[in-house]
Symmetry: C2
Subunit: 139 residues, 2 copies
DNA sequence: CTCACTGCAAAGAATTTGCACTGAA
DNA sequence: TTCAGTGCAAATTCTTTGCAGTGAG
């Protein structure tokens, strides 16, 4: 909910740069690259530098406020992370990202894998790809 | 099963460079970066260039012979993709990758997500992280 | 007041491209 | 013979670092 609070609780400072970056992502419907975030955030805070965007994203991901999305293209995208554990589905057509709850289905799979491999599973990365309703219908 | 056959069937040529890259990955227990593959494959075929490794990896991934593994570190790793659909669990300790069958558990989740979001799910990326049996034991 | 945060310039990785030559089919 | 495949060098991203100035707490 209150990302500024999360920042403060972690002993981090609330700056104009961080506000600008967060505002861009709060309004984005699509995962954005650091470069794209920079371009959109700059108008909100002209002195902003790309370097600061990178540093800010690292901090926000670390605090769990953002989620890093992997793209085969090469570079990473960033989206808002909803509180709680969830995953992302990406639309192949328009690129929008929608989150969905983790689901206990995964717990079953994890237990099964632990049993089969002897690994202790600590975390996972699940990302779906598909077509959203809008991109499915007209052409 | 026979990767050379898969290559040929796709109208691709079987070259010394590709043999070297595949041989390295056939023997690797860990996902390797393009750079690492280059270093290990070069002795097998000295004229090999890093550029060719990149181009070869793209082809092999496209043919489904290799799997791209995403790492937070920044660059990609590549591992052999077993025939059939499966996923990977990565050991946080030693970096080894083990494959496990996809599991139908995911089908349930996929159906659930399609229902909830209206997306048509076409594919997914699932990667687990944990500790393998060896790394779990106190060293 | 302090020290986390910032911008800038520059360095460092990772990956791609242009081009002429080579060799698998 | 023919064109996919290749090596090299150079160009492009993408991301991180060093450093001195600035401002949030």
């Amino acid at each position: 909910m209150d990302w500024e609070r999360t920042l403060a609780r972690a002993g981090r400072r609330l700056t104009a740069s961080r506000r600008a970056v967060m505002q861009v992502l709060l309004e984005a419907a699509v995962p954005l690259s650091p470069q794209a975030i920079y371009e959109r955030a700059r108008p909100l805070h002209p002195p902003l530098g790309l370097v600061t965007v990178y540093r800010t994203l690292d901090v926000l991901v670390e605090l769990g406020l953002l989620r890093r999305v992997h793209r085969d293209g090469g570079c990473h995208g960033y989206v808002l992370a909803s509180p709680g554990h969830s995953h992302t589905i990406l639309c192949r057509g328009c690129g929008q990202a929608v989150e969905f709850p983790g689901g206990e289905d995964l717990d079953g799979l994890v237990a099964q894998v632990q049993q089969a491999t002897g690994f202790r599973v600590e975390g996972h990365l699940l990302q779906l790809v598909g077509l959203c309703p809008a991109c499915r219908s007209p052409r």
